[in-house]
C-alpha cells in the first residue's frame, strides 16, 4: 500500500498524467459527439460507431503508461526511487497498478461518457445485451491492461521516444499490416494482442478464433508475460 501511495503521489505531482487523462477521455467522448451530431440518422448509430474514438483514447493511454516509467529513466529519478524502495519488482508492480487503475477509470469514464453523449443526442442503442455491456464497460479493462503493457515496454526500452514509437507502430500498423503476409497473414493477425482486445470489445467478425472472454484472457496473459520480462530485466540491470 505504501508503494502504491508513493507511486500515486509521483504520478499526480507532474502535469503529463493530467494532460493525458483529459486527452484520452476528451477524444473518446468528442468523437462520439461529432459522429452523432453529423449523422443524418442519429437514432441508428450503433455502439461500435459511437465508441470509434476509443482507438485514439487507447493511443493516449499507451503513451501515458510508457511515460510513467521512461521519464524516471530520463531524469534519473529511477535511481532515487530504487534508493528509497530497493524492492524493484514491487516498485514496478505498484507503478503498473497505479497507472492501470487510472487507465481503468479513464476507460470507464470515456466509454460511459460517449454512450451518455449519444443518448443525449438521440442515439437509441441501449445496453440491452451482454455484448453491449462488454463494448462499453469493457473499455476500461482494455485500457488498464494496455497501460500495464506500456509500463512494461517503457521499463524495457527506458527511452520515451523509443518506447512510444514501438507501442504506437505496433498497435496502429504492424498488427493490421501483418495480414498482408500471403496465406498465413490473417491467421497470425488473429493472435495479435490488440486485435484480441478489440475482439473482446465486440469487433469479432464471422467465425472468431477465440470467444470474447478468451480473447481478453489472451490479451491479459500477453500483458503478464511482458510485465514479467520487464521485472526480471529491471532487477538484473544496474539502475
Amino acid at each position: 500500500m505504501t508503494l502504491m501511495a508513493t507511486e500515486r503521489m509521483k504520478l499526480f505531482s507532474t502535469r503529463s498524467p493530467w494532460f493525458c487523462s483529459v486527452l484520452a477521455v476528451g477524444l473518446v467522448v468528442g468523437f462520439a459527439s461529432l459522429l452523432t451530431l453529423t449523422s443524418n440518422d442519429p437514432a441508428h448509430v450503433d455502439l461500435g460507431l459511437l465508441l470509434a474514438g476509443s482507438q485514439f483514447g487507447l493511443m493516449v493511454v499507451l503513451v501515458m503508461g510508457a511515460l510513467a516509467i521512461t521519464t524516471e529513466y530520463r531524469f534519473g529519478t529511477i535511481r532515487t526511487t530504487f534508493q528509497a524502495m530497493p524492492g524493484r519488482t514491487a516498485v514496478l508492480g505498484a507503478k503498473a497498478g497505479v497507472v492501470g487503475l487510472l487507465a481503468l477509470v479513464l476507460g470507464e469514464v470515456a466509454a460511459f461518457g460517449a454512450w451518455g453523449v449519444g443518448k443525449v443526442f438521440g442515439v437509441e442503442a441501449g445496453l440491452s445485451s451482454s455484448a453491449d455491456w462488454r463494448a462499453v464497460a469493457g473499455l476500461g479493462v482494455v485500457f488498464a491492461l494496455s497501460a500495464v503493457a506500456a509500463v512494461a515496454v517503457g521499463a524495457l526500452i527506458r527511452q520515451s521516444a523509443g518506447a512510444i514509437s514501438i507501442l504506437l507502430v505496433w498497435s496502429l500498423l504492424i498488427e493490421d499490416l501483418i495480414s498482408l503476409i500471403p496465406n498465413v497473414g490473417d491467421n497470425i493477425r488473429d493472435w495479435m494482442p490488440f486485435v484480441s482486445a478489440r475482439r473482446f470489445l465486440g469487433n469479432a467478425g464471422p467465425d472468431p478464433v477465440l470467444g470474447p472472454w478468451a480473447s481478453l484472457g489472451y490479451f491479459a496473459a500477453i500483458t503478464a508475460v511482458l510485465f514479467a520480462i520487464a521485472a526480471v530485466v529491471v532487477n538484473r540491470r544496474d539502475a
Binding site: 505504501t2 509521483k10 530504487f82 528509497a84 539502475a239
Partner: protein
Amino acid sequence: MIEASGLTKRYGKTLAVDNLSFTAQSGRVTGFLGPNGAGKSTTMRMVLGLDTPTAGDVRIDGKHYRDLKDPLRTVGALLDAKWVHPNRSARAHLAWLARSNRIPAKRVDEVLELVGLTGVAGKNAGGFSLGMSQRLGIAGALLGDPKVLLFDEPVNGLDPEGILWIRKFMHRLADEGRTVFVSSHLLSEMALTAQELVVIGRGKLIAQTSTEEFVAMATEASVRVRSPQLDQLRSALGRDGVSIRDEGDSLVVTGIDAAAIGDLAAAASIALHELSPQRGSLEEAFMQLTGDSVEYHTDIANDTAALLATGSVAR
C-alpha cells in the same frame, strides 16, 4: 558504519572498481578521494544497491542495502542533484520520498527549513540553480534522519559560500555521531572537510588513513633555504642523512631541521636570505603516495598533474 570488502565492478573489459576494501566509521567525515574516473561514483552506487557488484560486497551496519527496511531512515545519499523531475515541486519531490519510507509529512518542511529552501518549496525543481538543487538533494538525504550519509562530489560547481556551507554541514553531521562518506576529486577540499581518507586510483585502494597521517606519511618535513652562497652552503650541509634538492634559486633540504641549518650556516659564515620549514600539502602527499604504486606510475602522475591544476583553482 560502511564496510566494503573486495568490492569489484567490471563493465565489459574495463575494471571500474578493483578489489576495493575500506571502512567509514561513525562520527567521522570520511573523504573518498580519487581523480575523475577512479570509480568513486560506481562504488557509491554499489553501496546503495543501485549497481550490483561483480564480486565482493558492501554492508551498512552489517546489512546489505537491499535488505534494509525503509532504507532512507538508515542511509541518506546525494549522488546526483539532478535526479529530480523538473516539473515536480521541491516539496512534492520530498513528499513522495517521505511517503515511500513512512516518514511523517511534517519532516518535509523541517528539512526544507534546514537547507534553507522553505521559500521556494512550491517551485518546480527544474528551475533551480545548481546550488539550490544541491540543497534539495541534501534535504532528501536528511529526510529519514539517517545514521549514515553519502555525498558524491557535493561541492562540484558551487560558489565559495555554498562550499563553505556544505563543509560546515558535513562536520555538524559527523559531530552528531553520524557516518559521513563524501567523495571528491579536489584534494584541497578534502583536506578541509575530511578527517579520514579513503584514496583510490584506477579503481584500486591506494590508502586509508587519517588526513593528517596521510600528509605526514608521504611528505617528509623539509626546509627551504635561500642564500647568495649556495655552493658553500651545499658543501656545509653535505653529510649523512641529509638530502639536498635544487629548486630555482633555493635549496630544499630534508633530514635536518631549520635550527641546525642556521647554526651550520653561521659557523661557516654563510649569509641566509631565507630559512623556512615546509609543511607538506595534500597534493604533494597524493603525488608521493600514488607515485610509489609503480603499476600506475605514469597514469597517476598525469592525473595528478591535472588534479594539481584544478586543486589550485579551487583554493
